[in-house]
């Protein structure tokens, strides 16, 4: 038996622990989506209007770099969140995203959710409190990637270049 949207929201780390009534309000703006492998989910520069709560499959975030094609910068999987640009101006996607595997997700209307949390600062605080750690974690991951962990110019586990 398929769980209701509100149950699935409650099971997702982003909304787990919120009052049931609140989750039910959010669930009114949620619907199921599915994407075939290779299908584009987000396109850089297009309006950001949806929060995707990934439940199955894998999504790759990428950017097109001249001469290098699509450079993949991150993959996301079940339990993770795709798309936060609906929350902040100018409400446009910053990266492309496509399904690497068959993807199932719960799509929440970002504009409606934004309006909801602006009208209800207590709910807004709860939602932002859940989104902020995601943003911080992604920032930290990006910093670690910038550190180029695997290095160059050394043999990687031996001694100095020789």
């Amino acid at each position: 038996m398929e769980l209701s949207a509100s149950s699935r929201l409650l099971h997702h780390p982003l909304f787990a622990g919120l009052p049931l009534a609140t989750v039910e309000r959010i669930s009114l703006d949620a619907h199921n989506v599915a994407f075939e492998p290779g299908q584009v989910i987000l396109a850089e520069g297009s309006p950001a209007s949806t929060l995707y709560l990934l439940e199955h499959g894998k999504v790759a975030l990428s950017a097109h770099a001249p001469g290098r094609g699509h450079v993949l910068v991150q993959t996301l999987g079940p339990g993770e969140v795709l798309g936060l640009s609906w929350l902040f101006p100018p409400y446009q996607w910053r990266f492309d995203a496509h399904a690497v595997e068959f993807v199932e997700a719960l799509a929440v209307d970002g504009a409606r959710l934004r309006a909801l949390i602006e009208d209800d600062p207590v709910l807004g605080y709860q939602v932002i409190k859940r989104i902020a750690p995601l943003v911080v974690e992604r920032l930290q991951q990006t910093r670690v990637q910038l550190l180029d962990l695997y290095g160059s110019g050394t043999n990687g586990y031996g001694n100095r270049p020789a």
Binding site: T75, V144, L147, N155
Partner: protein, 290 residues
């Protein structure tokens, strides 16, 4: 009058620790654009015993000598060394023709201690070419899964900068087919890459192991090990259950603890290392320079 030497004086003697034994290049496998695995064959009657995690000093004759980890399992075919080309000696090693001589001194240093994994979840975290010194340990651990003295399961988590820098791809598939949980991530994916993109610490967070009963082996560049170990400890793995290979960027020379070139704080790594426990190495990992 001619002197007759006693018979025993004519018998070949075992070379000292500073004399390389000549091996021949049997095979050369290109693992990545700048990484080669050399299969080395000893001469007749030259048995070579080692434990996973140890290293040898390899000589490219006429060029120089470098410390390189052993990347094979004991008792399984030729001696394997996986070498990244970063300077004149490693360049000569990586390009050594089939049949050419390579000098081998060793084995030196401490090993991964895989006899200590009874009923533990063996969590192996490797970054880049750091998978090479772990390969022998992974293979032996997988052989022992389910045995009373063996691990309960083996989890292999591998990070690389890009897909083309990923080494031992066929081994990763083999280990997976043998029951290991294998996860791979790259920092930057290219078009066509279907695997994960992100840092290796993310794999640690999502992997299926019981932190309370896990023993972890970590190898890679020091900065990668710092972050990987942080992630392991955040998952609940005991610091005393983490072993790492800390020879990185240190300058091994004699391999016998005499010259002191590889000294890292209180440790002479060629003898007291390169494999050490995390509590022994934690302060050293965060030192800017020693």
């Amino acid at each position: 009058m001619a002197t007759v030497l006693p018979e025993r004086a004519l018998a070949p003697s075992r070379p000292g620790p500073f004399t390389p034994v000549v091996f021949r290049v049997l095979r050369r496998d290109q693992e990545a654009p700048d990484v080669v695995t050399l299969a080395l064959q000893p001469g007749p009657g030259q048995p070579f015993e080692f434990a996973p995690g140890q290293f040898n000093m390899l000589t490219a004759f006429g060029v120089g000598e470098v410390p390189i980890s052993i990347s094979s399992s004991p008792g399984r075919g030729p001696l394997l060394h996986t070498v990244r080309e970063v300077g004149p000696v490693t360049r000569a090693l990586c390009r050594a023709p089939i049949g050419s001589p390579i000098g081998v001194r060793g084995p030196f240093g401490t090993d991964w201690g895989i006899n200590d994994f009874a009923q533990a979840d063996a969590v192996v975290v490797a970054g880049g070419i750091g998978l090479a010194p772990l390969r022998g340990a992974i293979e032996l651990l997988l052989e022992r899964v389910g045995l009373p003295a063996g691990p309960r399961k083996v989890v292999v988590l591998v990070g690389a900068r890009t897909p083309d820098q990923l080494i031992f791809r066929s081994d990763l598939e083999t280990w997976s087919s043998l029951g290991a949980e294998v996860a791979v991530t790259v920092d930057m994916g290219s078009e066509g890459w279907k695997g994960d993109v992100g840092v290796v610490t993310q794999l640690v967070r999502g992997a299926g192991f019981d932190p309370a009963r896990s023993m972890a082996l970590v190898c890679g560049p020091e900065i990668m090990m710092r972050f990987a170990i942080q992630a392991l400890i955040e998952r609940g793995v005991l610091p005393t259950s983490i072993r790492l290979r800390i020879s990185l960027e240190r300058n091994m020379q004699c391999g016998s603890g005499i010259c002191g070139h590889c000294q890292l704080g209180p440790y002479i790594l060629c003898r007291g290392g390169p494999v050490v426990t995390y509590p022994a190495a934690s302060r050293l990992l965060s030192e800017a320079e020693l």
